[in-house]
Symmetry: D2
């Protein structure tokens, strides 16, 4: 292989780590996987064999010591992100880290300062920005096809709630689920959120209430531009993964449909039938996972800043914290109250 | 014609009065138009000639004196509604009145008490309830096709703002425009609204600000059932009259598309193109105007209560007043604060 | 009523006669119904009462004698059309006649000559020309939106076969059912058909075979312009009345969707579901029946030729006869072989 | 890499060869590329470098001599297919060959006999069978979702004509373009074609006439089952690559939409706009190229017959020859006349 390839250590080969490792090995020109790390030896061996990677380690720090590793993809559990990022930054590796990098403002600021000091690149895995449909919406908004954006609408519904232990560790619906929509809101509207009002409830499963969380929410956003937005979330849509956005403005409107496994239309005596949305994020965002990692590789190799920064991670968390506070206190909350 | 026909006096033959008069003359079995009234003599004569109605009066009170008139359709300017309703009730006529019957709680309660005392029927013109698409949504919700309703979404955008004098007399966006959506929310969800949060702004035209009004709004609703809802409004959608609803629940989701003048799909080198939504309410709700008047006639003749009552008018206004208060004070407002 | 109204005698008040009579009474400015005729006295009385028409006759010839009748709408059984047309022409009445006016070339030519001689107007009920969707397709073709038309596709499927006695008297699928599509082909393409190849079979019900008829067919058309077309027919689509057209050309393509009773979209665990096409022609073509009669009234009153002439009737029948010959002999048949 | 991988020689690394080579290297478990061949040394070197393949040859016969090569993917020009297949068969290699394997019945039969004698597997590249949408249609037909299939409709339009030299060498529209549709017809309907009638013309570009070819065609098919079908083709759809199928039967209908690069819907003052179909086959059938090669690898490794055989190639060519004869002689042609 060529000398100029960006050589990755993939840290964590669980569900999402496998996706990134496979994309880096097979589908991203200019990248290769030099080492894999995971605490689970069996899974590590299986993935390594399949991808033909020989260097494997159970301790991620061993990967950070390898001089041939230029960058890491951090796919370890969320509560380890800060530690792994700081270690990787100290080792001078460029960093792609899955979202969320951290759940508190202080922790993210510490990360961002450390990264800035080391002069490395840090990209955060808000993969939806790279989805061809949402990308098209952004392009149309930016090129003026809807005029001045006035109203943003995002519907984001999961097909089924996560397991209870996940809910308890997730940071709550706004930091775990809606955080993607908050990032999307900033991305699509090209304006910062200044205030939120969140109405949240437990309509799907009492387990959320026991965990001090909510499963259903409607969040109103105010943007610095004067525009408004609304996000509606549910932890359970029986018909699948519902992911829609709409931007309305002075010149028109643009929206996208959900993705489906096929486009068949079937008519019989009972009605017209077609395929449900793709279920779940692994299928729905296959293409965006690939494109985001390509973007990371291109940014690092081109010595340009990466497209989703630690600052983006910070701002999404700030909105999430404001939304949670708003829902608890049933009043609009300005972001300035949080940070 | 048959003796049992319900004989109408149509009071006011402007835009909406003409629609009702024509429907009553030509398309509603069991109804006929016995008299027309309007202060503008020329227009009155034209409509009367076209519809072959011989009894015409410039003063609506003369119609109320006619013993052969069983019912009136009140299509006079909104600020006359209360007076005409009270006069018609005193004359013992059944009443169909265009929305809004009044803009204050006290006035509507006075009307409702008077109507109850006289033992007549009063129906309010929330015509959208009779639209075949929205009716289908309600039927599916009521028959359990979406399970327990959890989230309601309504998008309601006008093609263009009304003239300034209309804006100033309208009672504001929430009582003039969103009031239809508030009624639709109660109708579709089968549960009462208990609290609202409205974010409103002037993004379309400064004339709204001068009139102390807004042109763009997002309103979050809490229902007694625990469900939530959101309405987004704009006074100006350049692509036409955008009227969509969606009900999401534990068992699925139901939504409807906008109506278009035709279903053509045109593909050329630049893209795939199809027809814009029907523009404006006269075209969009043609069928619902017809069906609501049929429903009124059937209810009166069947001696059953009419399907949209003075109580419905009251509750929509209460929500509207709460929304306006919420927007002004930027906080959620419980309906109990209003009434 | 105004003196200038076109006064109609409606001859035959069966299914289609009722539609025309009701439209003429209630929904067509400039027209009125002066008399009704039908051999069935009871039905005649019912329709007359409902429409408030006092002059009724069991013998249509009595209507033709009325001096106040300007025009007739012939809705009697198909096998009486020729006789009624000739009588009406002799009486100097303008004629709207349901399709088919006759099934043989000779009979139609006799009718057309007689009509020409009398100086009256004859319009044939190819109502689909007046459907808003098909009209839009024609407008787009004529205004050059698809460039030079190259390929026409028509799908026309009935929801269920007619009764056996109807099949036996129908003239066969090409003269009874496809004849609408043949007329539509000429109308949409703006070019005459010169040759057809029809492949036909009995795939739905053996009753068609017993009657010497077919229930399924694919007909290839050659147009004088060099363009081609294909029509596919079935007597039974379990999902309803399937009526689609597509015109493809050097500059693009235009097509239309089927009409549905509502636009709801329902998602549940099993899929995405929506409404079947309107079923049957009475519902599907409600608007086109109204518009065709308006067009007849406007043409006669404007002293312009009517938009669907006896010549149009003749040409559709010639194509139908060629198609039947083609299917029987399994070879392409030039229209010049027929007429 | 694992010992059991199927090791490929990819013969020809032009447009389609690159796709297969890349899929085999990166995306097909159980396969690897052991050698590449192409007469153009520069392109060969570029592809080899990119895919990290070290063994490259300008003469494909050198690849056939490599003992480590188990199978070949033949992507050389169509007029070399027969010779390369026979050489590969003689060398005992399993063969995947791009369509068409040959254009004459005699040549294909010779190939099939040779392949059978050598006991190797031969798969033909009718990639559309592996498209997720068409696959879904087939599954629904086979599982009875449309009842007994009665009518097949295929629309297949290219975005632009091929260059003149390609047209002259292509074997004509029916063997070059419609051949895919003929294979699809057999595949979807599960019944053999017995007779065809083709109407063809030159409506797009006179170059087709000069080459003794056509650019526009409508082909009627009769199936052994009694069902019928129709294919319409054009060499030039300005709006892109139009690939639709529809199967209609006694129990319903199933169809699929064209694939688009994204699902955006844009509304502005001029209309509703969305994305054109993917253009061209490289983009449209990306997924099916991958899936067909996977199916080949799985079949060979599983020692099962491959899913698209030399017999399938033969039958598609027979239908194509019958269609060409039908178009020339303007009469229906039975397949028995050809073979």
């Amino acid at each position: 292989m060529s000398r100029k390839n960006l050589r990755f250590g993939v840290l964590g080969v669980g569900r999402i780590g496998k996706i990134h490792a496979e994309n880096l090995v097979n589908r991203i020109p200019g990248a290769e996987v030099a080492a894999l790390a995971d605490v689970f030896a069996d899974e590590l061996a299986r993935v390594a064999a399949r991808l033909n990677v020989t260097a494997t380690y159970q301790d991620y720090r061993q990967v950070l010591e390898l001089p041939e590793v230029d960058a890491v993809a951090i796919c370890t559990p969320s509560d380890t992100h800060k530690r792994v990022i700081l270690d990787a930054a100290a080792a001078g590796k460029h960093i792609f880290c899955e979202k969320p990098i951290e759940l508190s403002v202080a922790a993210i600021e510490e990360i961002n300062q450390e990264v800035a000091k080391r002069g490395i690149q840090l990209m955060v895995g808000f993969n939806r920005r790279f989805d061809p449909n949402f990308l098209k919406v952004r392009e149309m908004v930016q090129s003026g096809k809807v005029g001045t954006p006035q109203v943003l609408k995002i519907t984001s519904r999961d097909p089924a709630p996560p397991p209870e232990h996940f809910i308890r560790a997730s940071g709550g619906v706004f930091l775990d689920m809606t955080i993607h929509d908050f990032d999307m809101a900033r991305y699509l509207m090209g304006s910062e959120v200044t205030e939120v009002y969140a109405r949240a409830g437990v309509l799907v499963d009492p387990v959320f209430e026991k965990a001090g969380d909510w499963d259903t929410a409607i969040v109103t956003l105010a943007f610095a531009s004067g525009a408004m937005g609304v996000i509606d979330n549910s932890r359970k849509a029986v018909y699948g993964y519902d992911q829609r956005v709409e931007v309305f403005g002075s010149g028109g409107m643009v929206t996208v449909r959900n993705n489906t496994p096929d486009s068949h239309i079937h008519l019989d005596q009972t009605g017209v039938h077609s395929a449900l949305p793709l279920n779940f994020f692994m299928e729905r965002y296959t293409e965006s996972y690939l494109r985001e990692m390509r973007a990371f590789v291109e940014a690092v190799q081109g010595t340009q800043p990466v497209p989703v920064t630690g600052q983006d991670a910070l701002l999404a968390v700030v909105i999430g914290l404001a939304a949670a506070k708003s829902a608890r206190e049933n009043r609009p909350v300005k972001l300035a109250e949080i940070h």
